[in-house]
Every structure is written in structure tokens, then in C-alpha cells.
């Protein structure tokens, strides 16, 4: 079970955001897709979760095409996308936000179990269940967004810039939690990040995007130690 992206091309308005991109995300691994602002990372993720239509190319999960499908159908089939900007519904309580991903699930007992597991992973959410989500801190909102996705028992988790706007200490905690989810929740994770070094440190594999094209692919350790990648894309 893996995610295979092949020759994918995506336009963002008049701009070609992703140009003939190909890479593979192995099962039960954490793959970081890194690149500067405008590299096309978010556009790529939005296409993989059905929020955007591609121009050409293919993307398969478990051998099945995932392009041009409805976002909600992909979510129900186990592909959960946590979009950037701390994607929680501010007007709803923490409890209601968590409940969203379990509304359509038939196994209500497992929804309850998954909710308990999420609260174990993010104990602060348990203390805030009745609170309006708009009043949470940035880190708590990110935890809630990830927690909501986990309640659907996803197989593939697409995370868009979870570190955006967070304090360094919180980023460290969130990254460690994301890493632990791979084994704890039997997940394959795609982590899109501008924080390239932080992402590659916890990732198994890495894909470096620049101006819509893949410029390097390999194990995270290899990419981190590659002097060309380091100086051109990691900034040290």
C-alpha cells in the first residue's frame, strides 16, 4: 500500500504550480515534502485530497486512482487531509470539531475509542472539550485538526504545514507526535513543510520541490547530509 504520484501537472490559475511531478510514498513511513514558499506543496496536497483538479498525470493510493474524486469520498476511504491554517471550525466546540470525522462512521464504538485515543495523544484537548475552538492557541488548534483527522481512522494522512505560526517548542512537540503516529495509528504520513530541516529530521523519506518540480528525492538522512541539497534548499 503506497501513494504513487506520476507525471502530475497542476495549474493554479494562470500559473503552472506543479510540473510533471513524480514520487512514491511508501506505506507506514513518514515522507516529508519540502520546499520554499510557492514551490507548489499546498497545491499538490489539495489535488491529492480532491480539493483541486489536475491538468494531467496520475496519483494512486493502494493501486486506485485518487484524482478527480470527491474530497468527502476520499476522506471516507481513509485519506485525510489536514489543511494549512490550523483547519478547525472556530465557531464549534472542541468536542463538535472532533465529532465531525466520526459522524458518518457506522462503528460508533470505535469512534468513541478513537476519540479516547486522540485525547490520550493530546491530553489538552480533553480539558478543552466544551470550549469554542476559536479560543484555542495555535498549537492547540493544530492538535485539534490532527486529532479530528485521526478519529476517521485514516490510512493516509496528508499534513499541510503543521508548524506554521507555532512557537519552536510547540513545533518540536507536534513533530514528535506526528512521528509517533506512524506506528501508533498504523499510518502513512505525507508531511508538507517549509520548515525543511525540522521535517526531514523526523521523516523517513523526503521529496524536495522547487518552483513546481521535484529537484531531489531520497531518504531523509541522505537529503539532510547532501551538501548540494543543504546549501540550495535547506539553508545551511
Amino acid at each position: 500500500m503506497s501513494l504513487i504520484v506520476d507525471n502530475l501537472t497542476i495549474d493554479h490559475g494562470a500559473i503552472r504550480a506543479i510540473n510533471n511531478v513524480s514520487f512514491k510514498v511508501p506505506k507506514n513511513k513518514l515522507t516529508a515534502i519540502i520546499g520554499a514558499n510557492g514551490a507548489g506543496k499546498t497545491t499538490l496536497l489539495r489535488t491529492l485530497s480532491g480539493l483541486k483538479e489536475p491538468e494531467s498525470g496520475s496519483a494512486t493510493w493502494n493501486g486506485e486512482s485518487i484524482l478527480n474524486r470527491r474530497t468527502e469520498d476520499l476522506a471516507r476511504s481513509g485519506i485525510m487531509h489536514v489543511s494549512d491554517g490550523k483547519s478547525v471550525i472556530s465557531e464549534l466546540t472542541v468536542r463538535d470539531n472532533l465529532a465531525l470525522s466520526g459522524l458518518w462512521r457506522k462503528d460508533k464504538k470505535d469512534v468513541s475509542n478513537a476519540t479516547n485515543e486522540v485525547i490520550e495523544i493530546f491530553p489538552i484537548l480533553g480539558q478543552r472539550l466544551g470550549q469554542i475552538s476559536g479560543s484555542l492557541s495555535g498549537g492547540e488548534r493544530q492538535m485539534l485538526a490532527i486529532g479530528r483527522a485521526l478519529i476517521a481512522r485514516p490510512k493516509l494522512l496528508l499534513l499541510d504545514e503543521p508548524s506554521l505560526g507555532l512557537a519552536p517548542l510547540i513545533i518540536g512537540q507536534i513533530f514528535q507526535t506526528i512521528k509517533s503516529l506512524v506506528t501508533k495509528m498504523d499510518l502513512t504520513v505525507v508531511l508538507v513543510e517549509q520548515n525543511a530541516v525540522g521535517a526531514l529530521k523526523i521523516a523517513d523519506e523526503g521529496v524536495v520541490l522547487n518552483l513546481g518540480s521535484v529537484v531531489a528525492v531520497g531518504s531523509a538522512d541522505t537529503l539532510l547530509s547532501d551538501p548540494v541539497v543543504r546549501s540550495a534548499y535547506l539553508g545551511f
Binding site: 468527502e72 483547519s87 470525522s101 476559536g134
Partner: protein, 298 residues
């Protein structure tokens, strides 16, 4: 004293009907960002069906039940086969904002023409199930009847049911989530299109109920709900457009303003008061008297 009590009671009764229309507009607005002008036509159409059923069965209550159900069906059909294709086809350019609203205006004209074709353009009436003669208070007949009381009770029950639906059920949570953030709702696996259609259905049912409660005190004809649409819209704006609580509160503010102006000054001031109130609210608090960007739970 009688005048004051009468004004309060009639304010509550008419405010309750405005609230239903206001809610039906708010439900559509907050889920699709469309001001549904067709709501007046939908409500008249389903009220005519209710009228037809009332005549044939001899029961106002059967007529009301059928009107509410048909209101829901018409709302769902309009969204599924009219609005949803428009949203899918109109994707870019300045027409994006205006196309759905203009479409509802076109739909209003179309529905009213169809009603005229089927039932004609004459005024008809529906007999109220209880007396429309005012109660006697301190020896004087006041402008508040058992029918007005019935309207208050029916609308209160409808509001309680809507509150329960939105606050205590999974469907209500899906409706709220889809209205606040369709994208996050979709990413969470909620079928937002179907949920929106349900929102249109509930709005249509509320409009059907408003029509059946409005007509026994008035007359039914193809344009019968135009005034109700205007008052419902003003109430929605006063309430902040996005909130169901605001829709009800705005309708009550409007009901009180209109009835007190009519009772203490002149009935000729009904429209002047309504529009003056609308303009004052827009100038002083354009987001509505009861809007709140955070913490809204309805």
C-alpha cells in the same frame, strides 16, 4: 392599558411569522451565501397546495402538514436541480457572486407565473382552524385572537424542534459545520452537497409553515408572500443574517416596532417603520444587532 397589551400580543404573533420567513432565508444564506428571493414564491406555491388540500379534506391541519412537507420537497428540488448546477457551471468571473441571486429572482417570477397559471390571479382565503375574533379584555375586544395565540404556539414548537435538530443531533452538527466551513466539513468526510440540500429543504418547510400561518389572517394570491419576504429579509439583516437566534430576535424587534408604530401612531407607518429600522441598523450596526463572530453555536 388594553392598547399596550394588544400591541405586545400582536407584535409577538406577527413577529413569530416573520421569524419563520427570516429563518428560511438565513438557513439558505449561511449555507450557500445566496439571498433566496424565490422563497416568497416557494412559500406561496406550497401554501396554495395547502389551500387545495384544506378545501378537499376539510382540515386545515392536514393542509398545513402537506404544505410543510411540500415546502421541504420544493426546497430540496430547487437546490438539487437548479442551484447546484448553477454553482457547478458558474465558477469564475464577476458573474460568480451575482448569478445565484439573480437565478433566485428569476425563479421567483417563474414560480409566481406558474401559480397564476394553475390557480389564477384571484384572491382566495383559507379558513382558520380556530376563531380569528379578538379576545375580550376588560370588556373590550382586542386585536389578538385564538388564531394569533395558535400561531405563537405553533411557531414556538417549530423553533424548539429546530433548536433540538441543530444542537442535539448529528445532522444538526453536519448542517452547522457545512455552513461555517464547507471545506473542513468535506475534509472531515461530510457530504456537504447533500447537507446543503437538506438546509434548503428545512428552509422550504419553514416557508411553507409561514405561509399557512400567515394566510388565514390575510389572503392568498401569487404575490401574497412578497411583503412577508421583505419583512423576513429585514428581520434577518437586523439579526445579523448568519444566526438562527438572530433571525428570531430580529423578527421580534421588527414585529414590535411595526405593531407599536401602527398601534400608537398610524397603521400607515408600517412600511416606513420597517424600512427606517433596516436603514438605522445598517448605519449603526451593519453586522446586525445579534451577530457575533465568535462563540456562535446555533
Amino acid at each position: 392599558m388594553n392598547q399596550f397589551i394588544t400591541a405586545v400580543l400582536t407584535s409577538l404573533s406577527s413577529g413569530a411569522i416573520y421569524a419563520l420567513m427570516s429563518i428560511s432565508l438565513v438557513l439558505v444564506w449561511r449555507s450557500t451565501r445566496v439571498v433566496n428571493f424565490a422563497q416568497a414564491g416557494q412559500a406561496v406555491f406550497t401554501t396554495f397546495i395547502g389551500y387545495e388540500v384544506t378545501i378537499r379534506t376539510g382540515s386545515y391541519w392536514v393542509g398545513l402538514f402537506v404544505a410543510v412537507i411540500c415546502g421541504g420537497l420544493v426546497g430540496a428540488i430547487i437546490d438539487r436541480f437548479f442551484m447546484r448546477p448553477i454553482f457547478k457551471r458558474v465558477k469564475s468571473g464577476p458573474i460568480v457572486m451575482i448569478a445565484p441571486v439573480v437565478a433566485t429572482l428569476g425563479l421567483l417570477g417563474l414560480i409566481q407565473s406558474v401559480i397564476g397559471f394553475i390557480w389564477g390571479f384571484n384572491y382566495v382565503s383559507i379558513e382558520a382552524p380556530v376563531s380569528t375574533q379578538g379576545y375580550k379584555l376588560f370588556g373590550t375586544v382586542v386585536a389578538f385572537s385564538p388564531f394569533n395565540l395558535m400561531v405563537l404556539i405553533v411557531v414556538t414548537i417549530a423553533m424548539l424542534l429546530l433548536t433540538l435538530l441543530f444542537q442535539k443531533t448529528n445532522i444538526g452538527l453536519a448542517l452547522r459545520a457545512s455552513a461555517f466551513s464547507p471545506e473542513i466539513a468535506r475534509l472531515s468526510g461530510i457530504k456537504v452537497d447533500a447537507v446543503r440540500t437538506l438546509g434548503w429543504a428545512i428552509a422550504g418547510a419553514a416557508g411553507g409553515l409561514a405561509g399557512m400561518l400567515y394566510v388565514p389572517g390575510s389572503y392568498l394570491h401569487p404575490n401574497a408572500m412578497d411583503v412577508l419576504l421583505i419583512f423576513g429579509f429585514i428581520a434577518a439583516v437586523i439579526g445579523g443574517l448568519d444566526s438562527l437566534f438572530g433571525a428570531v430576535a430580529g423578527a421580534m424587534v421588527l414585529g414590535f416596532a411595526i405593531n407599536f408604530a401602527a398601534s400608537y401612531v398610524s397603521y400607515k407607518l408600517v412600511f416606513t417603520t420597517a424600512f427606517a429600522l433596516l436603514i438605522i441598523v445598517l448605519l449603526v450596526k451593519p453586522n446586525g444587532l445579534f451577530s457575533s463572530s465568535k462563540g456562535r453555536k446555533d
